[in-house]
């Protein structure tokens, strides 16, 4: 904060006073946020706080009415579409698991695997040994080796969540946005997912949105509390849960 210039250039993702409204309703209201390279950040907040909308803005799905969204200090994300932003290195896992249901688990990963996305490149793509090994490794990481050749539609809900995380890994983005990864998971699966995300955060920057407080505690990272479209509090989980506004915003609902 003292030297704002170096702050901006070293910051991986920088949202400054972003607002967006839908039919007059301000879903995001003067939101500012900075994510450092290598950081994992947890975002919590009541339903309708604007967490998913924030991800929509970062990934180019929704254009903000005002404010700046800078990636790596120079790319203005509000000027690019989903494809360009994905190619620049921002990957996303959706709140509702979204995988390609009519294709196998392996094919889903193959589609996500980083590489040339062009029409000709895909037409004449031949899987290299390195690519095959990478897919195998990811299958192992997300514990889906045994189901590699089954259709994604046959996976359980939790496994679909994991497949989608695996697709993020295959995509190998600089920044991962993960929206409610443990929704609908069993307790055991939730613990595994926290482990997985901590593992991923060693090599990637991550933003995780979640409701599950136990899960957030397991992640053990800096937390941002979002309410009514802006930041309510920021800091360690203990710090923010002691914050009077946070208590009110959660208990008030």
């Amino acid at each position: 904060m003292i030297d704002s210039n170096t702050q901006v250039t070293s910051t991986l993702l920088y949202l400054d006073d972003v607002s967006v409204s839908f039919d007059g309703f301000k879903a995001i209201n003067g939101l500012s946020l900075a994510i450092e390279p290598g950081e994992m950040r947890a975002i919590i907040g009541p339903n309708g706080a604007g967490k998913t909308t924030m991800m929509d803005i970062i990934t180019g799905k929704t254009r903000p009415d005002t404010g700046d969204v800078l990636f790596e200090g120079q790319m203005d994300l509000t000027q690019h579409d989903e494809t360009e932003i994905a190619q620049a290195g921002i990957g996303r896992k959706f709140q509702k698991p979204t995988v390609f249901e009519s294709q196998t688990v392996r094919e889903n990963l193959e589609l996500a695997l980083s590489g040339n996305r062009g029409v000709w490149a895909s037409l004449f793509y031949r899987e290299s040994e390195a690519d095959a090994a990478r897919i195998e490794e990811i299958l192992q990481t997300v514990r889906l080796q045994q189901r590699a050749n089954e259709l994604a539609s046959d996976l359980s809900h939790g496994q679909k969540q994991w497949l989608e995380i695996g697709m993020l890994l295959a995509q190998d983005p600089k920044l991962l946005l993960v929206d409610e990864p443990v929704a609908g998971m069993t307790d055991a699966e939730t613990v595994e997912t926290a482990k997985l995300l901590r593992e991923i955060s060693k090599t990637h920057s991550v933003i995780v949105v979640e409701h599950d407080m136990g899960f957030i505690r397991d992640l053990d990272v800096k937390v941002t509390v979002l309410a009514e479209g802006s930041v309510l509090a920021e800091g360690s989980l203990d710090h923010v849960s002691a914050h009077p506004d946070v208590i009110e915003s959660y208990l008030g609902r």
Binding site: L111, S122, R147
Partner: protein, 387 residues
Amino acid sequence: MISAFLFRGLAGRIAWVAAFIALLGILVPLSNLMLPSDHALYVPDYIVSLFGKYLTYALLAMALDLVWGYCGILSLGHGAFFALGGYAMGMYLMRQIGSRGVYGDPILPDFMVFLNWKELPWYWYGFDQFWFAAIMVLAIPGLLAFVFGWFAFRSRVTGVYLSIITQAMTYALLLAFFRNDMGFGGNNGLTDFKDILGYTLQNPATRAGLFAAAAFALSLALVISSAIVRSKFGKVLLATRDAESRARFLGYRVEHVKLFVFTLSAMMAGIAGALYVPLVGIINPGEFAPANSIEVVIWAAVGGRGTLIGPIIGAITVNLGKSWFTAQFPEYWLFVLGGLFVAVTVFMPKGMLGTLSSFSDKVKSLKPAPKPSQTEAGEMRKEGEAS
């Protein structure tokens, strides 16, 4: 690179079907030309022409399957690309007539003399050359599809809205081609063709040659399409069909994916139209009728979309049924066609081919010993769940 690419297209049953169609392209003309007409295996002239026409329909239906079955683009305007390919061929055939027309003008087709035109419009230049017409057969439908797709896909028009504007496109062309001053023969279209590449169209040998050309074109298009859907690009097509926005967030340029496959499909439809016109001897604006394009969708649905082979079977069986019905009970054909579509949609959503394959899968799974790979996977799954 290309041969390895095409080789991948020959996987599985595609290879057999493509070989079978190519073989028909050799055997049917041979039988028609070589065997005496009382021979048991003799294929009569009218069958050669009729089935040649069906083969061009099959190519059209397969082209539609590439965009609809694999990429989820329900085009209700593929008849337009077919007709444009047909017109390009028709213009060549018109210019081959030369001074043998009713009015005997060496350059101008009869309808232009009739309209009192003094010279050939610029857009008829070059069509006296077969190679030029052949390029136009691909270029005109391809260009229209490219320009149309460029705007539609960039604006992210999808689903029903896209289907409706493809109908509007073919309808607009229908109205345009009806006009005499467009210079394509208006209402009557192009007809009274004499010969193609110097061969008389009335000659059975020419028709047998056209049949062979249609069979080879279908066979080759099938192999190319199969190579495409089996490549990684084919997976991208399915990804676009099933979860378009997910594909975008993975970094795929979805509009380019659609544009490529839509343009390619339109060019295949154009070839189908170009082969159809010399076989039936006429092309008129009626080919642009919106109902024609809808019929193609029914062929593909009946045969089984997303299979490439299904729409080929669908196009041939539905048209066989049509020939029989329109001879027996002409008034009822449209009701039968509509009923067929509803029945297939409700009872056989995967079409004839899909229903057949899932039936044969069931029969296989009734056998006592399941495939080893299945047991293995099943056990591992249980292990995984226990841990």
